[in-house]
Amino acid sequence: MNKELKKELGVGIFFAALSFAYLLGTTFVSTFSPFGNRGLDSKSVPMLIGGLALVLSASLIISTCIKYRQTKATTNLKKEQVCDSDEVVCIAPPDGVEITDKTKKLPVKMVLSVVFLVLYFALYQRIGFILSSIFYLIAEIFLLTEKQKRKKWALFIILFSIGVTVLIYVVFTRYLTLFLPRGILG
């Protein structure tokens, strides 16, 4: 099974499991019909959504299996096309034109960025906006900076993180009247 079909199957299985769990969840929704039930109650639309999702995910799984059988012995010969971000339309670029937007994904940086975000949000109210933001900015900017440039930029990154955080705090709390948690500094 090629990568594309595996992805389709994965999507189908995920949605099937999700819609099944969602449908199960609708049984716990309470209903209220003081004037008699002339139409739908609070669980009807979720049941409709869950039911439709279950049917469609089942059809996606089945169609993927059929596609797998049909394309088992063939090779993929697709001409590269340029699509918009929503994949509404794809066109073949003019001959010789190549957009240099092909990026190599580095999941390690992505995973670490998520970890930093989790820590940032977890500490946001506990230690306050200023400290958590300074730590987050220093950690994330260091992560995104090229390894060989980190040492050279270290002082700038630290000073920038402190300066910009304090500036944001002052602007938002003094001039834009927003409340930001002070945490241990309060």
Partner: protein, 500 residues
Amino acid sequence: MFSMLVAGFGSVFTDPLSIIMVFLGTVVGIIFGALPGLTTVAGLSMFLPVTYAMASGTGLSMLTAIYIGGISGGLISAILLNIPGTPSSIATCFEGSPMAKKGEAGKALGLGVFASLIGTVFGISLMIVLSPTLAALTIKFGPWEYFSVTIFALTLISALCGKSVTKGVLSALFGMMFATVGLSPIDSAKRFTFGYLQLTSGFNLLAVLVGLYAISEVLSTAGSDKPPAKVLAYKMKGLGFSIKDISGQWFNMLRSSLIGLGIGILPGIGGSTSNLIAYSVAKNSSKYPEKFGTGIPDGIIASESSNNASIGGAMIPLLTLGIPGDGATAILLGGFMLHGMQPGPLLFQTNGATVYHIFASMILATFFMAIVMYAGMRFFVKILKVPSNILLPLIVVLCSIGAFALNNRVFDMWSLLLFGLIGLAMAKAGIPGPPFILGFILEGAFETNLRRGLEYSNGNFLEVFTRPISAIFLTLTILSLVLTLMRQYQSNKRLASSKN
């Protein structure tokens, strides 16, 4: 309408803060549009909390200025870096970069800015004319009409986005599932709260939108190893082009603007789609299609006038029906709601003065955009060298402030992260994002109007087919689904035959 617009201009020009914010918004938008990896939506998400304390007209004018600047700014990196600054400028790369390589970067930039100006003015003018008329029509809508419009919008976007209708509809249903969390409409029954108090009010629209668009974008860019692209040299005298360069382009500009406007009106998609379609149409109807790709003005003009005309187009369904025309207008919908305004047919009656203030600011922002881009091109080209490692974490911090300030609770920040990860996973799995967004936004209207309609008709669902407007929308729904399925079947067949 004209007197309201004059009053709108009056309120903008008598308020210096409004003018400053529109100017600032335009510059910020151009910067976000120009920087590859950052989009208009990220700019809107970042500056949303800045508008919290402003008057609704001023705040929303700033956001629309960011939108206009953002769509236009994408052409700078498309031409000088050969990287589209925003998805709306993909087709600009096809001609812009070859022109820059030929030493005509100044001309390409000048033509791009001019086409952006014409496209935006065209789109906004038609938005100003059409929106009040459509709002007057939609005010007569009852529950069945609204129900059928939501069904039409959801199926259309599901059918258009991505390569599979099934995945598109599943994405919309996925979004609807999240929207059912909290209290149900009409009878306020708790649904999927799992005894957790914070979930009673459901997921905040802005936290969902900013998470899906901005956070997932930041995480995705953080994970990419992009070598710094070389900025091509440019020289720009005056406007960068001569009258002769555009004399034969007026029809191309008009046609592309119309395409942009039409695509923009369709729910959920905008400039990112229209620029490719307009480019294709310009190429296919050209007397010299073989020259496309070698660096000719036609392609830049088609791409830039269409993506900018989509701005006005995307605002029309937002203002008249409360249905966003693209990602940026989805954030604007959140902005409207945050400022206590509900986009839809009643908007012109309840907040007419503010709406015309925004219209006037949009016209002002359009001219600011052109002036700033012509006068400050040197500055924006320098901005291209700003490293994204500094900007990305800053966007996260500002988006987090925006999420926290919604209700002063960290729960909305966790929602931000959750939907950021969902957006990332969906992109990886090839599940289109726009149907999810529309599903989340429209579930409330879908459910409320379906239940209301059935209450009014004593449980008779067939009434939806007997009302002319709802019958038209349902017919269009079926038509769009059938056409898409046919298109999908034919392309699958073509693919299978090409493989054999």
